[in-house]
């Protein structure tokens, strides 16, 4: 017997007889001898127990005991227990895309609730049922804006995650579009530069709030500038910050995307994550990805279906709004469970805790001689500091002492060798923050 196969020797015999062939090999006759594998050199199978033991050993090669002060758009938040227990239910995890609505109402209603929660969070009118991750969601938003406006030029704020900017660059390299990066001044989008560059050939301006440096902005004025020229505004957001921070909806933004990992998903070494997208109702038909809509059944009972499918690849083929098929439905439901547990007050409190802890850390860091904390603009739970020497080296020493201290910025921005991006979530205790600061102080003093 082989794992997960039910057919017994007798079954195989009976089935082959029913088919009218002698052996299983006869079923593969269409594959001719010269097409057979030149090699299929794979290890022998193992028992479940042995495989689990193997992974226990491998897992220990990851050093996860480090106390993280590292973010960059991906954060270490606490995930309440019901999230995992509910998401592990096979009825949710082992279903497919809800093509048959009558026997998929569980997934469909959960996704409708997810869309509603994302609209509430971002202050927008419509949401899709998820995209892959925050970076690809921003790419999809860019393509959507190019489609809506039929223009060719896109402005990209320098405060947009450099990880996302590189993704968009890769995807558009062979297409006939022009991307112009606009500068960041004192942590904020440079209005003067944008005003000069934005024109009637511009399809969209891409912004991020809080931006990669952790700075909070109110982009309302940029929205006005853009709309005056028929330009769409895309904003990438950090969902937890929206518990307190002005929503893209309140600013008049046209398309919102973001990384939903912080809404109840583990860091997972980069995925699976949750790309989300919300927009204005007037753009719903230009939006990529699956959308769940409310309707009624034959007895006028409320129910939910995949709707507006004519936008999608399985109907429109080469004319589709995107090539996306599988999204991250389970991650979307996972985030819904998280948001439902959190509730209205919980969201605000979670955001406040992040804000307070980051502020405490920032204040303590200001007390270290040689550390410069950027104060020109408000931040949420992440901020930039300038160290007296190469942040990569300091980072390395902090790791030795059990802290993942932040992200040295020179990986992404030239001439920032001494800068580091520090994130403080609600999970960091006062003791951890104080230890972190005193360790950094010690390392800096030792270097002098």
């Amino acid at each position: 017997m082989k794992p997960y196969i039910a057919n017994t020797v007798k079954d195989i015999k009976d089935m082959l007889q029913a088919i009218g062939v002698a052996t299983i090999d006869d079923l593969f006759k269409d594959i001719q001898p010269q097409q057979r594998p030149s090699s299929f050199n794979l290890p022998e199978g193992q028992s479940e127990f042995e495989v689990i033991q193997f992974f226990r050993e491998i897992a220990d090669h990851n050093r996860t005991h480090l106390i993280p002060f590292i973010g960059g758009g991906f954060y270490d938040h606490y995930i309440p227990a019901p999230v995992f227990s509910l998401i592990s239910r096979g009825e949710l995890s082992t279903a497919y895309t809800p093509y048959q609505p009558e026997c998929s109402q569980g997934t469909l209603q959960a996704l409708y609730e997810y869309q509603s929660l994302m609209c509430a969070l971002t202050g927008m009118e419509v949401s899709n049922a998820s995209l892959y991750d925050g970076g690809t969601a921003l790419y999809e938003a860019t393509m959507m804006a190019l489609r809506i406006t039929k223009r060719k030029k896109v402005l990209m704020d320098g405060g947009v995650s450099p990880i996302y900017r590189k993704i968009i660059q890769s995807y558009t390299r062979n297409l006939n579009y022009e991307f112009i990066q606009t500068p960041v001044v004192h942590g904020h989008s440079d209005r003067d530069a944008i005003q000069k560059l934005i024109d009637e050939d511009t399809a969209a301006i891409i912004l991020q709030n809080p931006n990669f440096f952790g700075t909070i902005d109110d982009h309302s004025d940029i929205v006005n500038m853009a709309h005056a020229k028929g330009v769409l505004v895309i904003q990438s957001v950090y969902p937890i910050a929206l518990g307190l921070v002005k929503t893209p909806g309140e600013m008049g933004v046209d398309i919102v995307t973001g990384e939903g990992q912080s809404l109840g998903l583990p860091l997972n070494f980069g995925g699976p994550y949750l790309g989300f997208m919300t927009t204005k109702k007037k753009y719903v038909r230009k939006m990529p990805g699956r959308v769940v809509g409310k309707t009624v059944d034959q007895s006028a009972r409320r129910c939910f279906v995949n709707t507006l499918q004519t936008r999608e690849q399985h109907i429109r083929r080469e004319k589709a709004t995107s090539n996306i098929c599988t999204n991250v439905a389970l991650c979307a439901v996972q985030s819904s469970i998280f948001m439902s547990l959190l509730g209205k007050e919980g969201l605000k409190q979670l955001a406040q805790l992040n804000l307070d802890k980051a502020e405490y850390c920032r204040q303590l860091l200001e007390g270290i001689k040689g550390v410069e904390v950027k104060r020109s603009s408000p931040t949420f739970n992440e901020f930039t500091i300038r160290l007296p020497s190469d942040s990569n080296r300091i980072c390395e020493e902090m790791i030795e002492e059990g802290f993942a201290p932040g992200i040295p910025l020179d990986r992404y921005y030239p001439d920032t060798a001494n800068y580091m991006l520090v994130a403080v979530t609600e999970k960091r205790t006062r003791t951890e923050i104080e230890q972190y600061v005193s360790l950094l102080k010690h390392i800096i003093e030792k270097q002098k």
Binding site: P101, K294, Q313, A358, C395
Partner: protein, 488 residues
């Protein structure tokens, strides 16, 4: 069923946050503050648990039902792989850690998994190098076509077209289009595979490549594949293998050996990771040696001292296609599955998925029109044209099956077959289950003769009857909170 929002009562809490332990209370300047509170529901933990548990009861799933959805490979998803993915040393690792100076030493376990999967998938498919970055099958297709474009650019080839058979998944033409190519659709011939004569007419120097699912969506392995490969390679076109149907040929044939240059693999199909109600998936892409320089960065490499590192030093790379290294949690599950099954186990998958499909084909062909009457691979496509003449369409048969506790096959796909019923039983199902399915399909056929009208109010056993999809599309409502206010 009530929506979670309709259970909300002001003052209830589902999760209590820790009290603050820092001696500061910060605030955001008013201009930057959110004005209206976010209307998340106010419910208890029990409310949430009961709500989502009850929602889950409204789904058919592999864990609860036979799910022979063609082209989706709804096989059993072993539970132990969930345990592996949930190990904190895997799921709590921050993806930026290995990018810090010497940070790769902190994540050797995770990098090892990615490196090993590259090697294993290369051996399984006969390719030379893989990237784990693509986050789903269609994302893999886009990555593959971008690699094609980069190759042709480097060769200074001026290419315009990608050829796609009419039986292909919609993702193929959609991908080609968003990557900047025009698609040429080639018809299937009477035997259910791409028409060679028509293909010949479409092949010219402007062809960048051909995207093929093999076996194709009719469940047929293309016996002309060697000819097709040669025709495409003769104009320096590239052969793209859509891995949706890889489940049929493990150990029997490798795309790399039969001339494919680029391959994507759907880990959520062939390698048994849960479909999740529509994702997360994972679509690693493999390439032959001459295309390896174009793979996305970063790539996972091994040093002489047996440590693994992120290598960005590929100047011809197409760049970054995802935020990090792919859907690591899914890759991890698939790796565990491959290790458990091993060589013999993987080969058995294809043997039994093909055996099961042929058994169904043989049992049902007396009752349903079989457009391509021949040995099939892991799936077969029937047509309900005869039943449709009696007023019972593929969709009606689907709803009849739902009423008998079976998930229906894929209906109305591929587009090449009218009233298509595309059945993929997978290797996980027992003969008893297949026999039960056959019984119900025969019953449906009988009923289409004796009482065709009885289909039209089906399904009757589910929580809802057929939804009004026209209303859903005309009166778009995708957001509960938009209901309170009229349209803008």
């Amino acid at each position: 069923m009530e929506l979670i929002f309709e259970k909300s009562v002001a003052g209830r809490r589902g999760y209590l946050l820790p009290k603050t332990d820092v001696p500061v209370s910060a605030s955001i300047p008013e201009q930057f503050q959110r004005k209206r509170d976010c209307p998340f529901p106010e419910v208890t933990e029990l409310d949430v648990v009961r709500h989502f548990t009850r929602l889950s009861h409204l789904n058919y799933s592999v864990d609860t039902h036979f799910y022979p959805l063609g082209s989706c490979t709804m096989k059993y998803n072993p539970k132990f792989t969930e345990q592996v993915a949930a190990m904190p040393q895997f799921c709590e690792v921050h993806p930026i850690l290995p990018q810090l100076k010497n940070g790769e030493l902190l994540t050797q376990g995770a990098l090892f998994v990615l490196y090993e999967m590259d090697k294993l998938l290369s051996e399984i498919t006969g390719m030379d190098a893989f990237t784990m970055q693509p986050l789903a099958g269609a994302h893999g297709e886009l990555t593959g076509v971008m690699i094609m474009a980069a190759y042709h650019k480097a060769q200074k080839n001026k290419k315009k077209y990608i050829i796609v058979p009419d039986a292909a998944h919609g993702t193929n033409p959609a991908t080609a289009a968003i990557a900047g190519y025009e698609t040429i659709s080639v018809k299937s011939n009477a035997t259910g595979v791409i028409d060679i004569d028509q293909l010949k007419q479409c092949i010219n120097d402007d062809v960048a490549g051909l995207m093929l699912t093999c076996p194709n969506t009719h469940g047929i392995f293309n016996m002309d594949i060697d000819k097709i490969t040669k025709m495409v390679h003769d104009v320096d076109g590239l052969m793209y293998y859509d891995g949706a149907n890889l489940n049929a040929i493990l150990g029997r044939c490798r795309p790399g050996d039969i001339g494919f240059d680029i391959v994507h693999v759907n880990l959520h199909k062939t390698f048994a990771t849960p479909h999740g109600g529509g994702g997360p998936g994972s679509g690693p892409v493999g390439v032959c040696e001459k295309l390896a320089p174009y793979l996305p960065i970063s790539r996972i490499c091994k040093r002489d001292n047996d440590t693994y590192f992120l290598n960005y030093d590929y100047p011809q790379s197409i760049g970054y296609i995802a935020s990090f290294y792919g859907n690591f949690g899914i890759v991890l599950r698939a790796y565990a599955y491959i290790l458990q099954l091993g060589k013999e186990g993987l080969m058995a998958i294809s043997d039994h998925s093909v055996l099961n499909a042929n058994y169904l084909r043989e049992q049902l062909k007396k009752y349903y029109h079989l457009p391509y009457d021949r040995i099939c691979m892991h799936e077969c496509v029937f047509s309900a044209v005869e039943q449709a003449q009696r007023g019972v369409h593929a969709i009606d048969i689907a709803k009849f099956l739902i009423d008998h506790d079976l998930h229906p096959p894929t209906v109305y796909f591929p587009l090449t077959v009218k009233e298509a019923l595309m059945i993929e039983p997978t290797e996980s199902e027992s003969k008893e289950t297949l026999d039960l399915f056959v019984d119900k399909m025969i019953q449906a056929d009988e009923l289409s003769r004796s009482n065709p009208a009885s289909f039209h109010d089906r399904p009757k056993t589910t929580c809802i009857s057929r939804p009004d999809e026209v209303k859903a599309a005309r009166e778009i409502n995708t957001n509960y909170f938009a209901e309170e206010k009229p349209d803008d």
